[in-house]
């Protein structure tokens, strides 16, 4: 039916009636489509997602994926950055389609969510091949459940107090060892309205829970009992109220009033530009200072958030981590995903990912932390005392909210909802008391747990 001419391949005979031409088009298209799977029969395409939308970090991951795939003939990858804000929506729709990403780089909350859905596979075999002892135990514990590990720790989100060394020295202040000392130091550093002692950001989405739980954990509180896994927030009401009261005192006495609605950029820029002398932070202030006020870099120091009394350090901080997880799929895709991760977990590659945003990201493996690739980075060298302090003191004892007893999808619910922020903001605005704020949080935590079937 089709005529051929040299050089141009198939063309339609002029005599063909329109309907027959249409039928021929359909037949040709069907033929082409039909032949496509055959041509790609041996090609395995993995979907790789990362929540890291910062170009410096995403580019490194993509480059490493591509480099590793060169060692894996017949396997290709579709790399995609999925912003944290739309991650749960994307995960829900992908699960509905039965198309969970094969490899995903994300926070514990998403690991917990996908594990609860039965959408990921354990990665113990990968961890054992890489050497279990190489990973920081606290990061493995955070993504463990039912005796299995569901995500490969990559780098740490660590929260501590970043402070101005020059201002501390000028005021004759030592590093605070208790809440009272911290509040006193913050008050001493107040030079309102030009300078405030301590930033207490409370944006109702994400930032508020990070602020509150840092203080709550420093008081010895937990949402679940780390040993039994039982709900414990109600039993820890005294600690919860004390933490709320301390946070409110810090806000009222030493934080800019607008910080009630500050998100990350608000308090980080305030610190870097000298408006606040201390802030609870993940280390991103270093990168921001490099861009906006390099002179500040020499004045920045860190200390762990103190506990209520000087005789006992805070039992835990609110930390977190980024992990690589493997989505449930065909055996071939799961095997290829794990092979890809084995390649990406060579110490120099883990180090390279961490130094794509130095200080903010600290490797969660000993080998990467100690590697020349990591230690030779200029910023790492410049902040070596601070990084060593973080690696040894802040990254060893920490919880993610709701995951004190291992993986729990409640962490995702806390990240996706705003009830903690609402309670904190209303308490800060004087609309409710600290006790009422804690009771609201308690009630909502129980409600969210009930929604999760707990």
């Amino acid at each position: 039916m089709l005529e051929f001419d040299e050089g141009n391949g198939a063309r339609f005979p002029r005599r063909l009636p329109p309907l027959n031409r249409l039928a021929a088009c359909v037949a040709l298209a069907a033929g082409l489509l039909g032949s496509a799977p055959a041509a790609r029969a041996e090609e395995l395409e993995l979907s790789v997602w990362s929540n890291l939308t910062t170009a410096a970090q995403a580019d490194v991951i993509q480059r490493q994926v591509n480099a590793c795939l060169k060692e894996m003939p017949g396997v290709s990858a579709k790399f995609e950055t999925v912003p944290f804000g739309s991650m749960y929506t994307r995960l829900i729709t992908s699960m509905k389609k039965g198309d969970v990403p094969n490899v995903m780089n994300t926070l514990e909350g998403a690991v917990a969510y996908l594990q609860a859905k039965g959408a990921v596979v354990p990665v113990d075999d990968v961890i054992d091949q890489l050497g279990r002892g190489d990973f920081l135990a606290s990061y493995l514990a955070a993504v463990s459940k039912s005796g299995k590990v569901w995500g490969l720790p990559d780098w740490a989100l660590h929260q501590e107090v970043w402070y101005r060394k020059d201002l501390f020295q000028a005021a004759g202040l030592a590093v605070p060892k208790s809440w009272d000392e911290l509040l006193a130091a913050a008050n001493k550093l107040n030079k309102k309205p030009d300078q405030y002692g301590f930033a207490v950001p409370m944006d109702r989405a994400l930032v508020a829970p990070q602020t509150y739980f840092q203080i709550f954990y420093s008081a010895g509180g937990t949402i679940f009992d780390p040993k039994t896994g039982e709900y414990a927030f109600g039993d820890k009401r005294a600690e919860a109220v004390a933490a709320m009261k301390f946070m409110l005192a810090l806000y009222k006495e030493a934080s800019p009033p607008a910080s009630i609605e500050w998100s990350w950029s608000g308090y980080r820029e305030a610190f870097v530009k000298g408006q606040v002398a201390m802030t609870n932070e993940w280390g991103a202030v270093v990168g921001i200072a490099q861009e906006q006020n390099p002179k500040m870099l020499d004045q920045m120091g860190v200390f762990a958030f103190p506990g209520p009394s000087a005789d006992k350090p805070a039992p835990a901080a609110l930390n977190g981590g980024y992990y690589y997880l493997v989505g449930k799929s065909t055996d071939a895709k799961v095997a290829a995903s794990k092979k890809l991760l084995l390649c990406m977990y060579k110490p120099e590659r883990v180090a390279e990912r961490a130094i794509s945003r130095p200080i903010f990201a600290v490797p969660a493996t000993h080998s990467a932390f100690e590697s020349a690739a990591y230690q030779s980075n200029d910023i790492v060298k410049r902040f070596k005392p601070e990084i060593d302090y973080i690696f040894n003191n802040v990254m060893s004892h920490w919880y993610r909210y709701g995951m004190e007893a291992g993986l729990n999808p409640l962490a995702g619910q806390i990240e996706a909802t705003t009830f903690i922020g609402d309670a904190m903001q209303n308490a800060a605005l004087g609309k409710i008391t600290a006790e009422q704020a804690v009771d609201q949080i308690d009630q909502q935590l129980r409600f969210q747990i009930s929604l999760l079937g707990g």
Binding site: D203, P256, P257, E261, A416, T418, G421, Q425, N426, A428
Partner: protein, 308 residues
């Protein structure tokens, strides 16, 4: 007779064929639009109504019929009245501002003055700026430390040092209303401007002959002639304002302390935060039903008034 009958019969048959052909072409041309409307509007609406009678568990993908339980829960939710009040304040404030500013701007650009075409283009800008840029722009101006508006308010003694309107419940609501008025008034302006151009000049001339001054001309000539445009605008703007989510979410996230949490944010938080899709669907259906009822009552009321 037979000879005269045949051509008439043939003509009728030809006419029927032509009509049938036109109908087929009409259906064929309308089919893509119908398919899109069914797929993207009718199906989601019907499915949302179905979901609103179910308890949907996203963790297990299971659905359980619960009848009117989601609706009952919505009315008993402690957030119901505060959120309804926020929605009413947000909508009323936005609409009053949009209509007042839109009408004023329409009258200005309707004048035959030098440079008015340029002014017209400038006034349209807020409507074409992407909402994310607009939200960042307002957040920046309202920043407690560096924002020009906050600085001015602090200078006037209306705000404490380093305070932002966004950190105060009433200030946050006022801020998002002002931002929304600024964003949306150009639409009202353009519709009113088109209506103003349709007003016969003779009516103004007659009013002048009767001794009407400018305000009386506006009251007795301009406003009555804008009635039809206003009826349409009110229906459209009410629906768009009540359901407007992006701007308020990007500027305040519904804070501080839920002070700017309106109905669409409530729906979003229940669906995407707590993953309560059945409950969120019930909230969405309630909002849709309220808007539809309000529109019907308003349009019927207007028609009844016209008939009288």
């Amino acid at each position: 007779l037979a000879r005269s009958y045949r051509p008439a019969q043939a003509a009728r048959a030809t006419g029927r064929r032509a009509a049938a052909s036109r109908a087929v072409i009409g259906i064929a041309l309308a089919a893509p639009s119908i398919a899109i409307l069914v797929g993207l509007v009718a199906y989601p609406v019907v499915d949302a109504i179905r979901l609103s009678f179910n308890d949907v568990d996203m963790l297990t993908d299971s659905e359980r019929f619960v009848g009117l339980a989601n609706y009952a829960a919505a009315f008993h939710d402690p957030g119901f009245w505060p959120i309804l009040a926020n929605t009413a304040i947000w909508s009323a404030g936005s609409l009053v501002g949009q209509f007042a500013l839109g009408l004023l701007a329409a009258i200005i650009i309707d004048q035959r003055l030098p440079g008015v075409a340029f002014v017209r283009s400038i006034l349209l800008l807020p409507y074409v700026v992407p909402v994310i840029a607009l939200a960042l722009f307002w957040r920046w101006m309202l920043d407690g430390t560096y924002g020009i508006i906050s600085h001015l308010l602090q200078h006037l003694g209306l705000l404490a040092a380093n305070q932002s309107p966004l950190a105060l419940p009433s200030g946050a609501m006022a801020s998002v209303i002002v931002a929304n008025v600024w964003r949306s008034f150009p639409f009202v302006m353009i519709v009113y401007w088109a209506a103003l151009q349709d007003i016969p000049q003779e009516q103004y001339e007659a009013a002048k002959v009767d001794g009407a001054h400018a305000l009386q001309q506006f009251w007795y000539v301009t406003l009555p002639n804008l009635r039809n445009a206003t009826v349409t605008l009110i229906v459209l703007r009410v629906v768009w304002t009540v359901t407007y989510f992006d701007l308020i979410w990007l500027v305040t996230h519904g804070g501080p302390g839920g002070a700017t949490k309106h109905w669409p944010i409530w729906i979003y938080e229940e669906a995407m935060g707590s993953l309560r899709f059945g409950y969120a669907a019930a909230l969405a259906v309630l909002m849709g039903a309220f808007l539809m009822a309000a529109a019907i009552v308003y349009v019927r009321g207007t028609q009844y008034k016209d008939a009288r």
